[in-house]
Protein backbone atom coordinates (compact mmCIF):
# COMPACT_ATOMS: atom_id res chain seq x y z
CA UNK A 1 0.00 0.00 0.00
CA UNK A 2 2.80 2.42 0.89
CA UNK A 3 4.28 1.83 -2.53
CA UNK A 4 0.97 2.60 -4.24
CA UNK A 5 0.54 5.76 -2.19
CA UNK A 6 4.01 7.04 -2.94
CA UNK A 7 3.55 6.29 -6.65
CA UNK A 8 0.30 8.27 -6.73
CA UNK A 9 1.94 11.07 -4.74
CA UNK A 10 4.62 11.21 -7.41
CA UNK A 11 2.02 11.28 -10.16
CA UNK A 12 0.11 14.00 -8.30
CA UNK A 13 3.22 16.19 -8.27
CA UNK A 14 3.62 15.55 -12.00
CA UNK A 15 -0.04 16.46 -12.57
CA UNK A 16 0.34 19.72 -10.62
CA UNK A 17 3.28 20.68 -12.82
CA UNK A 18 1.29 19.86 -15.94
CA UNK A 19 -1.67 21.92 -14.71
CA UNK A 20 0.55 24.95 -14.12
CA UNK A 21 2.24 24.58 -17.52
CA UNK A 22 -1.06 24.06 -19.32
CA UNK A 23 -2.77 27.05 -17.73
CA UNK A 24 0.18 29.32 -18.20
CA UNK A 25 0.39 28.45 -21.90
CA UNK A 26 -3.36 28.84 -22.30
CA UNK A 27 -3.34 32.21 -20.55
CA UNK A 28 -6.66 31.43 -18.84
CA UNK A 29 -8.34 28.72 -16.79
CA UNK A 30 -8.94 27.63 -13.22
CA UNK A 31 -5.89 26.78 -11.11
CA UNK A 32 -7.52 26.84 -7.65
CA UNK A 33 -10.02 24.01 -8.01
CA UNK A 34 -7.80 22.11 -10.46
CA UNK A 35 -5.04 21.88 -7.87
CA UNK A 36 -7.40 20.97 -5.01
CA UNK A 37 -8.74 17.93 -6.85
CA UNK A 38 -5.41 16.42 -7.92
CA UNK A 39 -5.08 13.58 -5.39
CA UNK A 40 -8.71 12.50 -5.89
CA UNK A 41 -8.40 12.29 -9.68
CA UNK A 42 -4.92 10.75 -9.52
CA UNK A 43 -6.09 8.04 -7.11
CA UNK A 44 -9.04 7.28 -9.37
CA UNK A 45 -7.12 7.03 -12.64
CA UNK A 46 -3.94 5.42 -11.33
CA UNK A 47 -5.30 2.97 -8.82
CA UNK A 48 -9.04 2.82 -8.17
CA UNK A 49 -10.76 2.80 -11.56
CA UNK A 50 -11.03 -0.09 -13.99
CA UNK A 51 -10.36 1.54 -17.36
CA UNK A 52 -8.53 0.93 -20.60
CA UNK A 53 -7.23 3.86 -22.68
CA UNK A 54 -7.00 1.67 -25.78
CA UNK A 55 -10.63 0.57 -25.51
CA UNK A 56 -12.62 3.75 -24.91
CA UNK A 57 -16.03 2.14 -25.28
CA UNK A 58 -15.32 -0.90 -23.11
CA UNK A 59 -18.74 -1.50 -21.58
CA UNK A 60 -17.44 -2.70 -18.23
CA UNK A 61 -15.20 0.30 -17.54
CA UNK A 62 -15.71 2.43 -14.46
CA UNK A 63 -16.85 5.93 -15.36
CA UNK A 64 -15.67 9.27 -14.02
CA UNK A 65 -17.83 12.38 -14.42
CA UNK A 66 -16.16 15.69 -13.61
CA UNK A 67 -19.20 17.74 -12.70
CA UNK A 68 -17.02 20.75 -11.84
CA UNK A 69 -15.99 20.92 -15.49
CA UNK A 70 -13.85 24.04 -15.07
CA UNK A 71 -11.25 21.84 -13.35
CA UNK A 72 -10.73 19.80 -16.51
CA UNK A 73 -6.95 20.52 -16.63
CA UNK A 74 -6.60 17.97 -13.80
CA UNK A 75 -8.61 15.43 -15.75
CA UNK A 76 -6.66 16.18 -18.95
CA UNK A 77 -3.38 15.61 -17.10
CA UNK A 78 -4.64 12.27 -15.77
CA UNK A 79 -5.92 11.21 -19.21
CA UNK A 80 -2.68 12.16 -20.97
CA UNK A 81 -0.55 10.37 -18.35
CA UNK A 82 -2.84 7.33 -18.73
CA UNK A 83 -2.23 7.29 -22.49
CA UNK A 84 -5.61 8.49 -23.81
CA UNK A 85 -3.84 11.01 -26.04
CA UNK A 86 -0.26 12.27 -26.55
CA UNK A 87 1.23 14.48 -23.82
CA UNK A 88 1.95 17.09 -26.50
CA UNK A 89 -1.78 17.86 -26.74
CA UNK A 90 -1.69 19.38 -23.25
CA UNK A 91 0.09 22.41 -24.70
CA UNK A 92 -2.99 23.21 -26.80
CA UNK A 93 -5.45 23.66 -23.92
CA UNK A 94 -8.16 26.24 -24.74
CA UNK A 95 -6.67 26.99 -28.17
CA UNK A 96 -8.73 27.01 -31.38
CA UNK A 97 -8.95 23.50 -32.81
CA UNK A 98 -7.64 21.81 -29.67
CA UNK A 99 -9.03 18.51 -28.42
CA UNK A 100 -8.81 20.10 -24.95
CA UNK A 101 -11.68 22.54 -24.56
CA UNK A 102 -11.93 25.11 -21.77
CA UNK A 103 -14.58 22.95 -20.13
CA UNK A 104 -14.80 19.18 -20.65
CA UNK A 105 -16.32 18.12 -23.98
CA UNK A 106 -16.89 14.41 -24.50
CA UNK A 107 -16.97 14.74 -28.28
CA UNK A 108 -13.59 16.51 -28.35
CA UNK A 109 -11.42 14.61 -25.87
CA UNK A 110 -10.76 10.86 -25.81
CA UNK A 111 -11.55 9.55 -22.33
CA UNK A 112 -13.85 12.38 -21.28
CA UNK A 113 -17.11 10.61 -20.43
CA UNK A 114 -19.42 13.61 -20.24
CA UNK A 115 -19.52 17.22 -21.34
CA UNK A 116 -19.69 19.41 -18.28
CA UNK A 117 -19.08 22.97 -17.20
CA UNK A 118 -22.51 24.19 -16.27
CA UNK A 119 -22.50 23.51 -12.56
CA UNK A 120 -25.05 21.22 -10.97
CA UNK A 121 -25.68 18.94 -13.92
CA UNK A 122 -22.98 16.27 -13.63
CA UNK A 123 -24.33 14.32 -10.69
CA UNK A 124 -27.68 13.71 -12.42
CA UNK A 125 -25.83 12.40 -15.47
CA UNK A 126 -23.56 10.21 -13.33
CA UNK A 127 -26.62 8.82 -11.57
CA UNK A 128 -28.24 8.14 -14.95
CA UNK A 129 -25.20 6.11 -16.03
CA UNK A 130 -25.28 4.25 -12.70
CA UNK A 131 -28.97 3.46 -13.23
CA UNK A 132 -28.23 2.30 -16.79
CA UNK A 133 -25.44 0.06 -15.47
CA UNK A 134 -27.83 -1.55 -13.02
CA UNK A 135 -30.45 -2.09 -15.73
CA UNK A 136 -27.84 -3.84 -17.88
CA UNK A 137 -26.64 -5.84 -14.86
CA UNK A 138 -23.12 -4.41 -15.19
CA UNK A 139 -20.84 -4.20 -12.19
CA UNK A 140 -19.00 -0.99 -13.07
CA UNK A 141 -18.85 1.96 -10.68
CA UNK A 142 -19.63 5.56 -11.55
CA UNK A 143 -17.50 8.20 -9.84
CA UNK A 144 -18.48 11.84 -9.82
CA UNK A 145 -16.63 14.90 -8.54
CA UNK A 146 -18.62 17.95 -7.53
CA UNK A 147 -17.45 21.27 -6.11
CA UNK A 148 -18.54 22.95 -2.90
CA UNK A 149 -19.92 26.05 -4.63
CA UNK A 150 -21.68 23.68 -7.00
CA UNK A 151 -23.29 22.05 -3.99
CA UNK A 152 -25.48 25.19 -3.85
CA UNK A 153 -27.28 24.23 -7.08
CA UNK A 154 -30.79 22.86 -6.55
CA UNK A 155 -30.29 20.15 -9.15
CA UNK A 156 -27.55 18.58 -7.00
CA UNK A 157 -30.17 17.94 -4.33
CA UNK A 158 -32.68 16.62 -6.84
CA UNK A 159 -29.96 14.20 -7.93
CA UNK A 160 -29.14 13.32 -4.33
CA UNK A 161 -32.79 12.56 -3.56
CA UNK A 162 -33.25 10.39 -6.64
CA UNK A 163 -29.97 8.46 -6.33
CA UNK A 164 -30.94 7.22 -2.89
CA UNK A 165 -34.53 6.61 -4.03
CA UNK A 166 -33.16 4.34 -6.76
CA UNK A 167 -30.60 2.80 -4.36
CA UNK A 168 -27.66 3.55 -6.66
CA UNK A 169 -24.92 1.87 -4.64
CA UNK A 170 -22.71 1.83 -7.76
CA UNK A 171 -22.47 5.64 -7.55
CA UNK A 172 -19.64 7.19 -5.54
CA UNK A 173 -19.44 10.98 -5.40
CA UNK A 174 -16.59 13.14 -4.15
CA UNK A 175 -17.18 16.65 -2.85
CA UNK A 176 -14.02 18.71 -3.37
CA UNK A 177 -14.52 20.82 -0.26
CA UNK A 178 -11.91 23.55 -0.62
CA UNK A 179 -14.18 26.14 1.07
CA UNK A 180 -13.76 28.85 -1.59
CA UNK A 181 -15.83 29.90 -4.58
CA UNK A 182 -15.51 32.70 -7.14
CA UNK A 183 -16.90 35.47 -4.94
CA UNK A 184 -15.38 34.45 -1.63
CA UNK A 185 -15.67 31.90 1.16
CA UNK A 186 -18.44 29.35 0.60
CA UNK A 187 -19.60 29.94 4.17
CA UNK A 188 -20.02 33.67 3.43
CA UNK A 189 -21.53 33.46 -0.07
CA UNK A 190 -24.08 30.70 0.63
CA UNK A 191 -23.24 28.38 3.46
CA UNK A 192 -23.63 24.69 2.63
CA UNK A 193 -23.10 23.50 6.23
CA UNK A 194 -23.93 21.21 7.88
CA UNK A 195 -22.98 19.41 4.68
CA UNK A 196 -22.48 15.96 6.20
CA UNK A 197 -25.91 16.06 7.82
CA UNK A 198 -27.53 17.25 4.59
CA UNK A 199 -26.19 14.39 2.48
CA UNK A 200 -26.98 11.89 5.22
CA UNK A 201 -30.54 13.23 5.41
CA UNK A 202 -30.85 12.64 1.65
CA UNK A 203 -30.13 8.95 2.22
CA UNK A 204 -26.45 8.81 1.29
CA UNK A 205 -23.62 7.07 3.10
CA UNK A 206 -21.31 9.94 4.01
CA UNK A 207 -17.60 9.80 4.76
CA UNK A 208 -15.28 12.67 5.55
CA UNK A 209 -11.59 12.57 4.67
CA UNK A 210 -8.52 14.67 4.02
CA UNK A 211 -8.77 15.04 0.25
CA UNK A 212 -5.01 15.26 -0.17
CA UNK A 213 -4.32 12.07 1.78
CA UNK A 214 -4.07 9.36 -0.87
CA UNK A 215 -4.31 6.54 1.67
CA UNK A 216 -7.55 7.99 3.03
CA UNK A 217 -8.99 8.42 -0.48
CA UNK A 218 -8.29 4.79 -1.41
CA UNK A 219 -9.56 3.48 1.90
CA UNK A 220 -12.77 5.52 1.65
CA UNK A 221 -13.49 4.19 -1.84
CA UNK A 222 -12.78 0.62 -0.72
CA UNK A 223 -15.26 1.08 2.10
CA UNK A 224 -17.78 2.81 -0.16
CA UNK A 225 -17.72 -0.10 -2.60
CA UNK A 226 -18.69 -2.50 0.18
CA UNK A 227 -21.74 -0.53 1.32
CA UNK A 228 -24.85 -1.79 -0.46
CA UNK A 229 -28.26 -0.27 -1.05
CA UNK A 230 -27.38 3.42 -1.17
CA UNK A 231 -25.16 5.95 -2.96
CA UNK A 232 -22.00 7.16 -1.26
CA UNK A 233 -20.41 10.57 -0.93
CA UNK A 234 -16.87 11.23 0.22
CA UNK A 235 -16.57 14.76 1.58
CA UNK A 236 -12.94 15.51 0.77
CA UNK A 237 -11.55 18.43 2.77
CA UNK A 238 -9.06 20.11 0.47
CA UNK A 239 -7.05 23.27 0.05
CA UNK A 240 -7.82 25.38 -2.98
CA UNK A 241 -4.64 25.82 -5.01
CA UNK A 242 -2.90 23.05 -3.03
CA UNK A 243 0.82 22.69 -3.71
CA UNK A 244 1.64 26.23 -4.82
CA UNK A 245 2.19 28.54 -1.85
CA UNK A 246 1.06 31.76 -3.49
CA UNK A 247 -2.09 30.18 -4.96
CA UNK A 248 -3.13 28.18 -1.89
CA UNK A 249 -6.31 29.42 -0.23
CA UNK A 250 -6.44 32.60 -2.30
CA UNK A 251 -9.90 33.31 -3.63
CA UNK A 252 -8.53 35.48 -6.44
CA UNK A 253 -6.87 32.39 -7.96
CA UNK A 254 -10.19 30.72 -8.81
CA UNK A 255 -10.09 31.58 -12.48
CA UNK A 256 -6.80 33.29 -13.31
CA UNK A 257 -3.89 31.65 -15.11
CA UNK A 258 -0.34 32.09 -13.83
CA UNK A 259 1.93 34.33 -15.90
CA UNK A 260 5.19 32.88 -17.23
CA UNK A 261 7.11 34.14 -14.19
CA UNK A 262 4.48 32.91 -11.74
CA UNK A 263 4.47 29.54 -13.48
CA UNK A 264 8.25 29.28 -13.10
CA UNK A 265 7.97 30.04 -9.39
CA UNK A 266 5.21 27.47 -9.02
CA UNK A 267 7.14 24.79 -10.94
CA UNK A 268 10.14 25.34 -8.68
CA UNK A 269 7.95 24.68 -5.67
CA UNK A 270 6.68 21.53 -7.31
CA UNK A 271 10.06 20.03 -8.09
Amino acid sequence: MDEIVSKIADTSRKMRRLIIEMLSLAGSGHPGGSLSSVEIIASLYFHIMRHNPSNLLWEDRDRFILSKGHCCPTLYAALALSGYFPMEELKTLRKLGSILQGHSDRLATPGVEMSTGSLGQGLSCAAGIALGGKLSKKDFFVFCLIGDGENQEGQVWEAAMSASHYKLDNLICFLDYNKLQIDGRVSDIMNIEPVVDKWRAFGWEVMEIDGHNIGEIIEAVDRAKEIKGKPKIIIANTIKGKGVSFIENKVEWHGVAPTKEEAERALKELE
Binding site: S124, A127, G128, G132
Partner: protein, 312 residues
Protein backbone atom coordinates in the same frame (compact mmCIF):
# COMPACT_ATOMS: atom_id res chain seq x y z
CA UNK B 1 -65.08 12.05 -37.75
CA UNK B 2 -62.78 9.74 -35.82
CA UNK B 3 -60.79 11.52 -33.10
CA UNK B 4 -57.77 10.65 -31.02
CA UNK B 5 -55.36 12.65 -28.85
CA UNK B 6 -51.72 12.64 -29.89
CA UNK B 7 -50.73 11.82 -26.29
CA UNK B 8 -52.88 8.68 -26.44
CA UNK B 9 -51.12 7.62 -29.63
CA UNK B 10 -47.81 8.24 -27.86
CA UNK B 11 -48.78 6.06 -24.89
CA UNK B 12 -49.74 3.20 -27.19
CA UNK B 13 -46.66 3.55 -29.39
CA UNK B 14 -44.38 3.44 -26.35
CA UNK B 15 -45.84 0.13 -25.20
CA UNK B 16 -45.41 -1.29 -28.71
CA UNK B 17 -41.82 -0.05 -28.88
CA UNK B 18 -41.12 -1.36 -25.39
CA UNK B 19 -42.09 -4.85 -26.51
CA UNK B 20 -39.74 -4.66 -29.48
CA UNK B 21 -36.73 -3.03 -27.89
CA UNK B 22 -35.49 -3.83 -24.37
CA UNK B 23 -33.23 -0.74 -24.39
CA UNK B 24 -36.21 1.61 -24.29
CA UNK B 25 -36.62 3.27 -20.89
CA UNK B 26 -39.24 5.84 -20.00
CA UNK B 27 -38.87 8.76 -17.60
CA UNK B 28 -41.59 11.03 -16.28
CA UNK B 29 -41.90 13.76 -13.67
CA UNK B 30 -45.17 13.09 -11.86
CA UNK B 31 -47.30 13.53 -14.98
CA UNK B 32 -47.44 9.93 -16.19
CA UNK B 33 -51.22 9.59 -16.08
CA UNK B 34 -51.53 12.71 -18.26
CA UNK B 35 -48.67 11.98 -20.66
CA UNK B 36 -49.85 8.34 -20.91
CA UNK B 37 -46.42 6.98 -19.99
CA UNK B 38 -48.26 5.14 -17.20
CA UNK B 39 -49.37 2.65 -19.87
CA UNK B 40 -45.70 1.78 -20.42
CA UNK B 41 -45.09 1.78 -16.66
CA UNK B 42 -47.84 -0.77 -16.17
CA UNK B 43 -46.34 -3.24 -18.62
CA UNK B 44 -42.65 -2.49 -17.95
CA UNK B 45 -42.35 -1.32 -14.34
CA UNK B 46 -38.61 -2.08 -14.31
CA UNK B 47 -37.96 0.25 -17.24
CA UNK B 48 -40.07 3.17 -16.04
CA UNK B 49 -38.69 5.85 -13.73
CA UNK B 50 -40.68 8.57 -12.04
CA UNK B 51 -38.58 11.49 -10.86
CA UNK B 52 -41.26 13.33 -9.00
CA UNK B 53 -41.50 17.05 -9.62
CA UNK B 54 -37.87 17.51 -10.69
CA UNK B 55 -37.55 17.95 -14.45
CA UNK B 56 -33.97 19.22 -14.59
CA UNK B 57 -32.68 16.15 -12.76
CA UNK B 58 -34.80 13.89 -14.97
CA UNK B 59 -33.17 15.25 -18.12
CA UNK B 60 -29.72 14.74 -16.57
CA UNK B 61 -30.59 11.12 -15.85
CA UNK B 62 -31.78 10.75 -19.44
CA UNK B 63 -28.35 11.92 -20.61
CA UNK B 64 -26.69 9.37 -18.33
CA UNK B 65 -28.97 6.55 -19.43
CA UNK B 66 -28.19 7.36 -23.06
CA UNK B 67 -24.47 7.25 -22.21
CA UNK B 68 -25.08 3.79 -20.75
CA UNK B 69 -26.59 2.62 -24.06
CA UNK B 70 -30.29 3.01 -23.28
CA UNK B 71 -32.85 4.89 -25.38
CA UNK B 72 -34.62 7.16 -22.91
CA UNK B 73 -38.01 8.67 -23.69
CA UNK B 74 -38.54 11.61 -21.34
CA UNK B 75 -42.01 13.01 -20.79
CA UNK B 76 -43.71 15.80 -18.95
CA UNK B 77 -45.88 18.77 -19.81
CA UNK B 78 -44.33 20.88 -22.57
CA UNK B 79 -43.77 23.95 -20.37
CA UNK B 80 -41.86 22.10 -17.68
CA UNK B 81 -40.01 19.55 -19.79
CA UNK B 82 -38.74 22.07 -22.31
CA UNK B 83 -38.31 25.46 -20.73
CA UNK B 84 -37.78 24.71 -17.05
CA UNK B 85 -35.14 22.12 -17.94
CA UNK B 86 -33.86 24.10 -20.90
CA UNK B 87 -30.23 24.45 -19.95
CA UNK B 88 -30.03 20.78 -19.03
CA UNK B 89 -31.36 19.90 -22.50
CA UNK B 90 -28.87 22.30 -24.04
CA UNK B 91 -25.75 21.38 -22.10
CA UNK B 92 -26.23 17.79 -20.95
CA UNK B 93 -28.07 16.46 -24.01
CA UNK B 94 -27.64 18.54 -27.17
CA UNK B 95 -24.01 19.62 -26.74
CA UNK B 96 -22.77 16.03 -26.23
CA UNK B 97 -25.32 14.94 -28.89
CA UNK B 98 -26.92 12.20 -26.81
CA UNK B 99 -29.64 9.83 -27.94
CA UNK B 100 -32.47 11.21 -25.81
CA UNK B 101 -36.09 11.49 -26.97
CA UNK B 102 -38.02 14.28 -25.31
CA UNK B 103 -41.76 13.84 -25.85
CA UNK B 104 -43.81 16.52 -24.18
CA UNK B 105 -47.58 16.77 -24.06
CA UNK B 106 -50.08 19.53 -23.23
CA UNK B 107 -48.32 21.97 -25.58
CA UNK B 108 -49.95 25.11 -26.93
CA UNK B 109 -52.97 27.09 -25.79
CA UNK B 110 -55.30 24.20 -26.62
CA UNK B 111 -54.40 22.72 -23.23
CA UNK B 112 -57.19 25.07 -22.18
CA UNK B 113 -58.48 25.90 -18.73
CA UNK B 114 -55.19 25.62 -16.81
CA UNK B 115 -54.19 28.97 -18.30
CA UNK B 116 -50.94 30.74 -19.07
CA UNK B 117 -48.63 28.89 -16.64
CA UNK B 118 -49.39 25.60 -18.40
CA UNK B 119 -49.59 26.78 -22.02
CA UNK B 120 -46.29 26.20 -23.82
CA UNK B 121 -46.13 28.60 -26.73
CA UNK B 122 -42.34 29.06 -26.72
CA UNK B 123 -41.17 25.46 -27.01
CA UNK B 124 -40.74 25.17 -30.78
CA UNK B 125 -38.63 28.34 -30.78
CA UNK B 126 -36.45 27.31 -27.87
CA UNK B 127 -35.94 23.74 -29.00
CA UNK B 128 -35.16 24.48 -32.63
CA UNK B 129 -32.30 26.85 -31.82
CA UNK B 130 -30.36 24.00 -30.21
CA UNK B 131 -27.68 22.36 -32.40
CA UNK B 132 -28.18 18.59 -32.94
CA UNK B 133 -31.84 18.77 -31.91
CA UNK B 134 -34.63 17.62 -34.24
CA UNK B 135 -38.07 19.12 -33.67
CA UNK B 136 -41.25 17.31 -34.64
CA UNK B 137 -44.87 18.45 -34.28
CA UNK B 138 -47.16 15.65 -35.47
CA UNK B 139 -50.49 16.65 -36.97
CA UNK B 140 -52.57 13.82 -35.55
CA UNK B 141 -52.51 10.51 -33.71
CA UNK B 142 -51.45 8.45 -36.74
CA UNK B 143 -48.52 10.70 -37.47
CA UNK B 144 -47.57 10.68 -33.80
CA UNK B 145 -47.26 6.90 -33.82
CA UNK B 146 -45.09 7.04 -36.92
CA UNK B 147 -42.97 9.87 -35.49
CA UNK B 148 -42.35 7.97 -32.25
CA UNK B 149 -41.11 4.94 -34.20
CA UNK B 150 -39.03 7.11 -36.54
CA UNK B 151 -37.37 9.02 -33.72
CA UNK B 152 -36.40 5.75 -32.07
CA UNK B 153 -34.48 4.82 -35.22
CA UNK B 154 -32.86 8.24 -35.45
CA UNK B 155 -29.65 8.68 -33.46
CA UNK B 156 -29.50 11.92 -31.51
CA UNK B 157 -31.75 14.20 -29.52
CA UNK B 158 -35.33 14.66 -30.70
CA UNK B 159 -38.13 16.84 -29.37
CA UNK B 160 -41.69 15.75 -30.15
CA UNK B 161 -44.47 18.19 -29.30
CA UNK B 162 -47.87 16.74 -28.46
CA UNK B 163 -51.20 18.15 -27.33
CA UNK B 164 -53.78 17.27 -24.76
CA UNK B 165 -57.13 17.41 -26.53
CA UNK B 166 -58.53 14.85 -28.93
CA UNK B 167 -58.68 15.98 -32.49
CA UNK B 168 -59.59 14.46 -35.85
CA UNK B 169 -57.46 11.92 -37.69
CA UNK B 170 -56.18 12.96 -41.10
CA UNK B 171 -55.65 10.51 -43.94
CA UNK B 172 -52.54 8.54 -42.96
CA UNK B 173 -49.86 9.89 -45.27
CA UNK B 174 -46.81 8.32 -43.62
CA UNK B 175 -43.99 10.15 -41.92
CA UNK B 176 -40.31 10.72 -42.47
CA UNK B 177 -38.16 13.05 -40.32
CA UNK B 178 -37.45 16.18 -42.36
CA UNK B 179 -40.14 15.60 -45.01
CA UNK B 180 -43.20 17.79 -45.37
CA UNK B 181 -46.32 16.40 -47.03
CA UNK B 182 -48.86 18.10 -49.25
CA UNK B 183 -52.13 17.06 -47.65
CA UNK B 184 -54.23 18.92 -50.21
CA UNK B 185 -53.05 20.26 -53.57
CA UNK B 186 -53.68 23.88 -54.59
CA UNK B 187 -52.17 26.55 -56.79
CA UNK B 188 -53.39 29.95 -55.55
CA UNK B 189 -51.93 30.11 -52.09
CA UNK B 190 -50.18 27.68 -49.72
CA UNK B 191 -50.97 27.11 -46.07
CA UNK B 192 -48.01 25.57 -44.28
CA UNK B 193 -49.10 24.26 -40.89
CA UNK B 194 -48.03 21.96 -38.09
CA UNK B 195 -49.75 20.12 -35.27
CA UNK B 196 -53.49 20.52 -34.85
CA UNK B 197 -53.34 23.59 -37.11
CA UNK B 198 -53.04 21.23 -40.09
CA UNK B 199 -56.67 20.29 -39.50
CA UNK B 200 -57.64 23.96 -39.20
CA UNK B 201 -55.73 24.63 -42.43
CA UNK B 202 -57.74 21.94 -44.21
CA UNK B 203 -60.98 23.50 -42.98
CA UNK B 204 -59.79 26.92 -44.16
CA UNK B 205 -58.83 25.46 -47.53
CA UNK B 206 -62.36 24.05 -47.90
CA UNK B 207 -63.85 27.47 -47.05
CA UNK B 208 -61.56 29.15 -49.59
CA UNK B 209 -62.51 26.57 -52.20
CA UNK B 210 -66.10 27.79 -51.97
CA UNK B 211 -64.83 31.27 -52.90
CA UNK B 212 -62.99 29.83 -55.86
CA UNK B 213 -59.55 30.05 -54.23
CA UNK B 214 -57.41 26.98 -54.48
CA UNK B 215 -55.31 26.64 -51.30
CA UNK B 216 -52.54 24.07 -50.93
CA UNK B 217 -52.16 22.57 -47.46
CA UNK B 218 -48.70 21.47 -46.45
CA UNK B 219 -48.16 19.49 -43.25
CA UNK B 220 -44.74 20.62 -42.01
CA UNK B 221 -44.50 18.14 -39.16
CA UNK B 222 -40.72 18.38 -38.90
CA UNK B 223 -39.78 21.92 -37.94
CA UNK B 224 -36.11 20.99 -37.80
CA UNK B 225 -34.52 19.94 -40.07
CA UNK B 226 -37.11 21.81 -42.13
CA UNK B 227 -38.07 20.66 -45.62
CA UNK B 228 -36.68 23.57 -47.66
CA UNK B 229 -37.74 22.09 -50.99
CA UNK B 230 -41.39 21.90 -49.97
CA UNK B 231 -41.28 25.54 -48.87
CA UNK B 232 -39.57 26.74 -52.04
CA UNK B 233 -41.99 24.81 -54.27
CA UNK B 234 -44.91 26.31 -52.37
CA UNK B 235 -43.43 29.77 -52.99
CA UNK B 236 -42.84 29.10 -56.68
CA UNK B 237 -46.04 27.24 -57.44
CA UNK B 238 -48.47 29.43 -55.49
CA UNK B 239 -48.71 33.20 -55.08
CA UNK B 240 -48.47 33.60 -51.33
CA UNK B 241 -47.88 31.63 -48.17
CA UNK B 242 -49.64 31.45 -44.83
CA UNK B 243 -48.06 29.63 -41.91
CA UNK B 244 -50.19 28.35 -39.05
CA UNK B 245 -49.08 27.10 -35.67
CA UNK B 246 -50.43 26.91 -32.17
CA UNK B 247 -47.30 28.67 -30.87
CA UNK B 248 -45.88 32.17 -30.61
CA UNK B 249 -45.46 33.84 -34.00
CA UNK B 250 -41.89 34.52 -32.86
CA UNK B 251 -39.37 31.78 -33.47
CA UNK B 252 -41.62 28.92 -34.46
CA UNK B 253 -42.79 27.38 -37.74
CA UNK B 254 -43.57 30.77 -39.30
CA UNK B 255 -40.11 32.08 -38.53
CA UNK B 256 -38.48 28.90 -39.81
CA UNK B 257 -40.40 29.17 -43.11
CA UNK B 258 -39.48 32.86 -43.45
CA UNK B 259 -35.81 32.09 -42.84
CA UNK B 260 -35.84 29.73 -45.82
CA UNK B 261 -37.85 32.02 -48.06
CA UNK B 262 -35.95 35.23 -47.40
CA UNK B 263 -32.77 33.57 -48.68
CA UNK B 264 -34.13 31.27 -51.37
CA UNK B 265 -37.42 32.64 -52.73
CA UNK B 266 -38.67 35.90 -51.22
CA UNK B 267 -42.43 35.65 -50.96
CA UNK B 268 -45.20 37.36 -49.02
CA UNK B 269 -45.83 35.33 -45.86
CA UNK B 270 -48.53 35.88 -43.27
CA UNK B 271 -48.00 34.09 -39.99
CA UNK B 272 -50.88 32.76 -37.93
CA UNK B 273 -49.84 32.21 -34.31
CA UNK B 274 -50.04 33.67 -30.81
CA UNK B 275 -49.25 37.40 -31.10
CA UNK B 276 -46.47 37.76 -28.52
CA UNK B 277 -48.78 37.44 -25.51
CA UNK B 278 -49.25 34.82 -22.82
CA UNK B 279 -52.22 32.48 -22.83
CA UNK B 280 -55.28 32.58 -20.64
CA UNK B 281 -57.91 30.17 -19.29
CA UNK B 282 -60.73 29.00 -21.48
CA UNK B 283 -62.03 26.04 -23.45
CA UNK B 284 -59.58 24.88 -26.14
CA UNK B 285 -61.89 25.79 -29.03
CA UNK B 286 -62.70 29.18 -27.46
CA UNK B 287 -58.98 29.91 -27.08
CA UNK B 288 -58.15 29.02 -30.68
CA UNK B 289 -60.74 31.53 -31.80
CA UNK B 290 -59.84 34.15 -29.12
CA UNK B 291 -56.17 34.11 -30.11
CA UNK B 292 -57.10 33.94 -33.81
CA UNK B 293 -55.38 30.67 -34.51
CA UNK B 294 -58.12 28.71 -36.22
CA UNK B 295 -59.59 28.00 -39.64
CA UNK B 296 -61.46 31.30 -39.65
CA UNK B 297 -58.29 33.29 -39.01
CA UNK B 298 -56.47 31.46 -41.78
CA UNK B 299 -59.38 32.05 -44.14
CA UNK B 300 -59.49 35.79 -43.38
CA UNK B 301 -55.75 36.16 -43.84
CA UNK B 302 -55.96 34.32 -47.15
CA UNK B 303 -58.71 36.60 -48.43
CA UNK B 304 -56.64 39.68 -47.46
CA UNK B 305 -53.61 38.26 -49.25
CA UNK B 306 -55.63 37.52 -52.37
CA UNK B 307 -57.05 41.04 -52.42
CA UNK B 308 -53.60 42.55 -51.92
CA UNK B 309 -52.24 40.54 -54.80
CA UNK B 310 -55.18 41.33 -57.03
CA UNK B 311 -57.85 38.82 -57.87
CA UNK B 312 -56.64 35.32 -58.48
Amino acid sequence: MEQEATRDAYGKALVELGRQNPDIVVLDADTSSSTRTNWFAKEFPDRFFNFGVAEANMLGYAAGLALAGKIPFVSSFAVFGSIRAYEQIRTSICWPNLNVKIVLTHAGISVGEDGASHQAIEDIATMRVLPNMSVIVPADANETRRAIFACCEHKGPVYIRLGRAKFPLLPDAGFEIGKARIIKPGNDISIIACGLMVFEALKASDMLGKDGISARVVNMSTIKPIDKEAIISAAKETKAIITAEEHSIIGGLGSAVCEVLSEKAPTIVKRIGIQDVFGTSGKPEELLSYFKVDAKAIYKEAITLVNRNGSI
